[in-house]
């Protein structure tokens, strides 16, 4: 059934001396270096590349490049598999493995093809009308079936072994597309001195130059293009990028370029080159020279394998030396496509032309006739016949046609094994429209062209609807010079090209049979949307083109309607009697063609995915086998289990060490901010809820911060270093936020305050030495200052040295024990840390982690912002009314505390909880209910905010926010847990340990 189609000569892209072996669906094949998968497989005589989305019809290659919608394949194996690639863009290399998609069990025999038989019952939008009974069947029967049938290719298996990256570049002029228009524009811009980037999605520059005839400056178009590509590549101010698709255009001339660095070259990939690179380009000016895309013609069964675009047929022959078949019919409505007939003829392939125009007598048709090519003007293809299963074309019917004619009158049969079609050309407007460019309908070209754009972007060449070489080169050169800021227009090269007669649109070719019923005129091939589907959507009231699109899925396939959009509008126009511009267009959205998620992640995966912040002690923690906990971007030691110990045991041990001996905590992550200026104290009075202007030099004070809504956002200890100088501590998570917050108020509201703020968090390593023996440990380190309770009482501060190490010591406590926080410049951090460990050994010092810290503070009833508070909690709610100044006229959040709901009745208030069973630990977040019922719903009156097993007290403790909690001391609450268990707990004070604070002042 298949025969080889490689021609004995020709093929500008291939190197016949370099054979390449690859496989397709397990079949070993050889092609030549330079072949695409499409050309190499076609050369081997294979027509069918895949099955369509809905009807599972066999499909072959239609296009030449990015517009391909049928021949989608999966390439590579296992974790390197990539689905849905266009065979027309896959460059073959030795060892490449490709598979067809959406077929089972095989390409030629596919069970899903029954859908085609039933296609009459499943028109556009059918699923909205059925699959509703019984209701549960949707989830369990219908939907799984639909999902399995849909979906095209398969996902890879496993983690991607390849790498990706990104780069930012700025340029004066970005030229998109390196056809003759792009090359001419880039050259003119470069000559004018601009920094130019020119990118093209293809491996080779030149666009369609090589298959478009004509000459420039006495050279064949392709040779001219090659010469220009060389000049540009060697220029100092130009960067050329091939295999690079400009995928999107965003505000302010930001564009994204998707470079396939090594897909085509496994050897390069093996060296470690990134597979893809995403270029983020900020261009002062953009020149769109993206060319045009040929459109198919809607005739019955126009989707059969072997039916392709005229440009694709001639590209096959000229670029790859592959004949699309043994004999073909060219169906056109324009002169340009006659070049395909001429090329085929020259390659020895029999061809005849069917032209829907009443007359075809321009120079190209004339030449065709001269060459003996039969031309049927005023005709259309009215039927396509195939071999069994629709796998290949056997013949077509040709019917006479007059413009607007709805049904077939006279037919003849023509044997052929392929069809080339051309319904005219559509400028590639995608990038023009991504960012709001306006377009207008051109009656002569019967297509949309660029109109106005708010950004600095200009379309030239075929992208601008200019199809003659003279006009392309003229506007491209002019744009290049002008946009590079040069007054001199670069000389426009001289051209030679055959003239062309105007095309005539044909949106729907009448077919054999009554009213064309049952015939499929495909508009969107990949999604199996036919002209009848579009008409049905209209009849059912889905009139807006956007409704039609969504109801039928027309234009929503992986080609995003590159070949179908305009044909669809043509059909809609004929169905409604409205001119095309009144139909409207759907929105063009990025990307131009799909690009990899891997490239969007770039190198930011694995260890580089979101930074991890490390304290100076990080490696020590790791070496000790610490379990880590993420706190913001920090990794903090959670606990240090010893051999044979689980986390619980380790945490209990650490807590008891602090309570009975001494512990050491890496608290370096705490935010630290220096604040200085004559108005510093007053400024702090505004930022904190409590008063700081009364703080004595050398003393520390705990402060609360609210946001303007009156909710707690941060807390910490601030020390007054001098009359006009403070050092503020914030929570670890709040450090950057609070520093920015202070700056913001200074810069935007209280601009008259003379205050400077400098965050110094990372300058300091800071450790808490806590426990009854803390002073002993410090003493051993030879402090340069007096450590006695009198000289350095609770909530005071001293600066000096521990041995040789410069330190700041804060006598503050978050554990309720005698405690010093010692800060030293981070470079000394590890040294000091080790010294403390060493000095502490004889006192039983143990490092403790964040979980022990949390239990210790809970035993003391200290809140953690973010645990006891949740963004809707006020200082009053957590019982810290005492820290909300009544005297200060204004501070942040003060006014909101007056809002009725915030001071209303029934606020949830922070209380302690003791479970009836001391061994029972309430789950975090458990809710108390007003009344326990057999089943939900039950009315909730508050929730547990922190809950721990306290090794100190030998029982569980918890804190909770409970409706009117403070008025309910002694009341017992019920917490219904999953599985029906109800835990009962009694409301108490929040301080469970050392209520008098005796341990602090020793």
């Amino acid at each position: 059934m298949s025969k080889p189609y490689r021609l004995s000569a020709g093929g500008s892209r291939i190197d016949r001396n370099r054979r390449v072996s690859f496989s397709f669906d397990g079949r070993q094949l050889t092609g030549f270096a330079g072949d695409t998968l499409a050309s190499a497989v076609s050369a081997a005589g294979q027509r069918v590349f895949g099955r369509s989305f809905k009807y599972h019809r066999p499909r072959g290659v239609v296009g030449l490049g990015a517009e391909e919608m049928n021949a989608l394949v999966g390439v590579g194996e296992g974790a390197r598999h990539e689905p849905n690639l266009r065979a027309t863009q896959v460059e073959i290399h030795d060892g490449l493995t490709a598979v067809s998609q959406n077929r089972w069990p095989s390409l030629t025999f596919d069970i899903g093809a029954v859908n085609n038989t039933f296609s009459r019952f499943i028109p556009g939008g059918f699923y909205y009308k059925t699959f509703m009974w019984p209701a549960s069947f949707w989830k369990h029967v219908y939907e799984p079936f639909i999902r399995r049938a849909a979906g095209l290719g398969k996902a890879p298996e496993g983690r991607d072994p390849d790498s990706y990256e990104q780069i930012h570049v700025h340029c004066d002029v970005l030229v998109v597309g390196a056809g003759v228009a792009g090359l001419a524009a880039a050259e003119a811009a470069a000559k004018a001195g601009a920094r130019v980037i020119i990118a093209d999605e293809n491996p080779v520059f030149g666009g369609l130059a090589d298959i478009s005839g004509g000459a420039i400056d006495g050279l064949a178009q392709a040779d001219w293009a090659l010469a220009k590509a060389r000049t540009l590549a060697s220029a100092e101010n130009v960067h050329v990028l091939n295999r690079t698709t400009v995928v999107g255009h965003w505000h302010h001339n930001f564009l994204m370029l998707f470079e396939r660095v090594a897909d085509h070259d496994p050897a390069r990939l093996r060296t470690g080159a990134p597979r893809h690179r995403l270029w983020k380009v900020r261009a002062h000016q953009v020149i769109l020279a993206t060319g045009a895309i040929e459109r198919p013609i809607a005739f019955a069964n126009n989707d059969r394998p072997g039916i392709m675009l005229a440009s694709a047929a001639r590209g096959m022959v000229e670029r790859y030396g592959v004949a699309p078949g043994a004999s073909g019919v060219l169906f056109t409505n324009n002169d340009d496509a006659y070049q395909t007939a001429l090329v085929l003829k020259a390659a020895g392939v029999a061809v005849r032309v069917v032209d829907s125009r009443a007359r075809a007598d321009g120079p190209l048709p004339a030449k065709a006739r001269e060459q003996g090519i039969p031309v049927d003007a005023g005709s259309v293809i009215s039927a396509v016949n195939t071999s069994f299963g629709g796998l290949s074309v056997t013949d077509v019917r040709i019917a006479s046609y007059r413009k607007g004619q709805g049904r077939v009158i006279k037919e003849t049969r023509a044997a052929c094994d392929f069809v080339a079609m051309s319904g005219g050309w559509n400028p590639a407007l995608h990038l023009w429209c991504h960012n709001g460019g306006k377009i207008r309908f051109d009656d002569q070209l019967q297509t949309y062209r660029p109109d106005r754009h708010a950004d600095r972007i200009t379309a030239v060449g075929a992208a601008n609807g200019s199809f003659t070489l003279a006009s392309i080169l003229e506007e491209a050169s002019a744009a290049g010079s002008r946009l590079a800021g040069s007054g001199n227009v670069h000389p426009v090269p001289a051209v030679m090209q055959a003239g062309q007669q105007p095309m005539e649109p044909i949106w729907f070719a009448p077919a054999t049979g009554k009213y064309n019923e049952g015939n499929k005129h495909f508009i969107d091939f990949q999604n199996d949307v036919t002209a009848a589907d579009l008409e049905l959507a209209q009849r059912e009231g889905y009139e807006s083109v956007e409704h039609t699109k969504r109801y039928t899925t027309f234009g929503m396939a992986t080609d995003q309607g590159k070949t179908s959009n305009l044909n669809g509008l043509g059909v809609l126009s004929e169905a409604t009697g409205k001119p095309i511009p009144e139909i409207g267009v759907t929105t063009f959205r990025p990307p131009y063609t799909p690009f990899s998620f891997g490239s969007m992640a770039g190198v930011l995966t694995k260890d580089l995915f979101l930074p991890i912040r490390r304290t100076a002690i990080f490696n020590w923690h790791t070496a000790q086998g610490a379990v880590f906990e993420p706190v913001g971007q920090w990794r903090r030691a959670y606990t240090y289990p010893r051999a044979g110990e689980d986390n619980h045991a380790a945490i209990a041990r650490e807590i008891l060490a602090v309570r009975n001996k001494v512990g050491l905590l890496d608290a370096s992550t705490l935010g630290k901010i220096e604040i200085r200026g004559p108005d510093a104290a007053e400024f702090l009075d505004r930022m904190y809820t409590n008063v700081f202007s009364t703080l004595k030099v050398g003393k520390c004070r705990y402060g609360l911060m609210m946001n303007e809504l009156g909710f707690l956002t941060d807390d910490g200890v601030t020390v007054r270093l001098a009359e006009d100088h403070f050092l503020m501590h914030t929570t670890s998570g709040g450090a950057d936020r609070i520093a920015a917050w202070l700056e913001e108020w200074l810069q935007t509201e209280w601009t008259h305050y003379r205050v400077f703020v400098t965050p110094v968090t990372e300058q300091w390593s800071q450790f808490a030495i806590a426990g009854p023996r803390a002073r002993d440990v410090l003493k051993k380190l030879a402090p340069s200052f007096d450590l006695s309770n009198e000289a350095l009482p609770h909530m005071s501060f001293v600066e000096g040295r521990l041995g040789a190490c410069p330190v700041r010591v804060f006598r503050i406590s978050f554990s309720g024990e005698l405690s010093y926080e010692v800060a030293t410049p981070s470079g000394f951090g590890l040294g000091l840390w080790k010294a403390i460990i060493e000095a502490g050994a004889e006192f039983g010092l143990e490092p403790y982690g964040t979980e022990a810290l949390h239990v210790l503070r809970a035993e003391k009833g200290y809140i953690v912002v973010g645990d006891e508070t949740d963004g809707t909690t006020t200082p009053v709610d957590v019982g810290l009314d005492g820290l909300v100044s009544k005297k200060k006229a204004d501070f942040i959040g003060k006014r909101s505390l007056e809002q009725s709901y915030l001071k209303g009745p029934n606020r949830k208030q922070l209380v302690g909880l003791l479970t009836e069973d001391p061994g029972e630990v309430l789950p975090d977040g458990a809710y108390a209910v007003r009344q326990v019922k057999d089943k939900p719903p039950m009315e909730m009156i508050g929730q547990v905010t922190s809950s721990y097993r306290s090794p100190t007290l030998g029982r569980s403790i918890a804190m909770a926010l409970i409706e009117n909690g403070r008025a309910r001391m002694g009341e017992t609450l019920s917490f219904p847990l999953p599985g029906g268990k109800v835990v009962r707990a009694t409301i108490t004070d929040t301080v469970f340990y050392d209520k008098e604070g005796a341990k602090l002042n020793v």
Partner: protein, 200 residues
Amino acid sequence: MSELSHESPLAGVTPPPGLSVSLREITDRGMIDLRGHGSDQAFLSAVKGALGLDLPLRPRTSAGSDDLRVLWLSMDQWLILCPRTKAAEILAALRSALTGVHSLAVDVSDMRAVIRIEGGGCREVLMKGTSLDLLDAEYRPGCCRRMRFAEIAALLSVVEDNVFDVYVFRSYARYAWDFVCATAREPARVRLFGAQDAPA
């Protein structure tokens, strides 16, 4: 405590083989964060008295010599670079000169890591992490500016034509280092503009 060991943020970290640029940590740099108003003559002359040089007032510039360089950070903020051993002395001099002048000077020598990147192509390597146009003439030696680098904040200083220092907060040092190592791999080398092979 016996002796005073000081450890830099990237102590023990070495660049992997096969990089297209050379990479090292600079560890002996003292840094002082200075705040004051660029419009305050008293401030400016006090600083000049203490440092012996004029603060750079133009955005994104620096002043001074190898030994003592001041980087502009904002209209009211500078970063003074000096040998680490001199930082305390300079800070003391500054503070005493600035007595009575609204200002804030803090020793931040241990707050940041400094990564030096040098060699042809180092601009391209950096441009994989920042959206700044490092090919612009502004980025000549002496220029400095804050930037977003990969996912973090950084300070960039152009030392010589192909020599850049990247300052990042200490806790991010490893991340920044690893990021540069990932983007500076030889097989990923990019050379922007200039002669290339023609896309044949």
